[in-house]
Symmetry: C2
Subunit: 187 residues, 2 copies
Amino acid sequence: MNYPNNIEKNYKKPLSYKNRGMDLEEELNLTNDYYIEINKALIYKKPTPIGVAKVSYSKKGKVIDRAFFKEPSTLDYNGLYRGKYIEFEAKVTEHKTSFPLANIHEHQIYHLKKVIEHQGIAFLIIKINGLVYLLLGEDFIDYLEKKDRKSIEYEYIKEKGYLIPYGFRPLLDYLKIVDIIYFKEDA
Amino acid sequence: MNYPNNIEKNYKKPLSYKNRGMDLEEELNLTNDYYIEINKALIYKKPTPIGVAKVSYSKKGKVIDRAFFKEPSTLDYNGLYRGKYIEFEAKVTEHKTSFPLANIHEHQIYHLKKVIEHQGIAFLIIKINGLVYLLLGEDFIDYLEKKDRKSIEYEYIKEKGYLIPYGFRPLLDYLKIVDIIYFKEDA
């Protein structure tokens, strides 16, 4: 990984895995904003699905006075990269030896399988022990089918996952790994 | 278009363009649900983006007490079909001779161009005079660049767009048109 030598002065202190001020979602949003800025990919976090129960109207327009969060049935992020469909879920765990699967809903797992079946690229981005890994949907499903456990062992994530090093811009260059895996010929 | 001969009795009366009981969004949601059911495509309406201003906690979990709708910067629907990324916007107009472009935000037009540039499939689904048309993103952009108008003439939509006939299941088989345009070899 390349840390640039000339980090801009007005930028926050260089980010490392010890930086707990920014959560994984913010880190990925910054990364995706950067990909859009340099016209590399179009990947967005989907809005959280909500059910609106009550609205009213103010001078500024429609206001939601009561709503609730719905359970997502797809993964958090999706988009388009080099003509391919990409969808992934990002999760942080404070556990040290395993990633608890209670974090991911049953229908999200079902959906992930479907994305693979329809020739999309699907993966998880997991932050564990302060390190960020990309675990391919195929390896995730494989684990579930063989192990049927309530969590994924950290050892498995280290073995099968790809470490995404923290960089400057982009902050978490996960598409570099997508290039290596899916676009081998010109990675 | 094929209307099946054996329409189930407990189904609502056969849908036609005169059926105003269901709006275009519901019609497309039913269509997409059906595509998922028969494992043809994974296409979803994105949740409307909202900004949450105030939350509280009840027995049932987190409740939103105040929020507002945000302007979308992407298109309403996206997903995966035959390995390709698809994104589209669906709009109804009550105008008879043209489709007003005030309906579509500037950054949505920018985004649509980007989707095409990144080799995705992008289009509009426009309901005008009770008829539903698929207008390719390319033809939409072409019109904007040549005409620079505040609306698209109905004549142009009829000429360049593809009529999506109402069917039974799926209700609005727009992927049939995607097949013809993008997968010619085996449509």
